[in-house]
Symmetry: C2
């Protein structure tokens, strides 16, 4: 790896934008996160509804990505004390603020793929 040049003119604002993009992509960039988030835009959903509406996702990956997004404050996990158990997921306000981004990601992809 190259040595860092401590006296160079690397644009600090540029690095700040880099970090911002990295943070966003790390937050929503997981293999199944976009699909999950897009569905939750429509409102609260049960675990099984999510699982059944996302083709090819395994339960392992679904749970892992849900947990991460919960930790990142994007979604709320609501457990009902019932038998049989019921768990619902919903977007937080932070999660909801991603809506325009998800929409533009989707639109650009639909328009530009072959």
């Amino acid at each position: 790896m190259r040595k860092e040049n401590s006296t160079n003119t690397i644009n600090k604002q540029q690095m700040d934008k880099d970090c911002g993009m990295s943070y966003t992509l790390n937050t929503i960039g997981g293999r199944w996160k976009p699909a999950i988030l897009y569905r939750l835009i429509g409102g609260k959903m049960r675990y099984s509804e999510l699982r059944d509406s996302i083709p090819n996702v395994t339960e392992r990956m679904l749970v892992l990505q849900l947990r991460e997004m919960e930790k990142d404050g994007l979604i709320n996990r609501i457990v009902y004390a019932e038998v049989p158990p019921r768990v619902e997921y919903e977007l937080t306000e932070k999660g909801n603020s991603l809506k325009p981004i998800l929409k533009s990601l989707s639109e650009w992809g639909v328009k530009n793929r072959d």
Copy 2:
């Protein structure tokens, strides 16, 4: 993996949006692609300028990601027949159309990280 239910009511439009998002994220989601694209928004840059303006990137990764984006039609590679060699990179029109997306990714990240 769960069996695909061929008679279920998986929303085809939802899947289309999924694919759109996947395409976009696969296209710009590489480890260094956002940083490269953001810099090229400012105009043509030489290989060494890119390398020196992106902290911690290795030449291997820089070249790999440039090649992928060239293949995806996001950037043009311009080789000048000179000694010593000179190579410049610039956004294509397709690449330029990502500008608002990159901007919103950066802004959301800056605003929402702790």
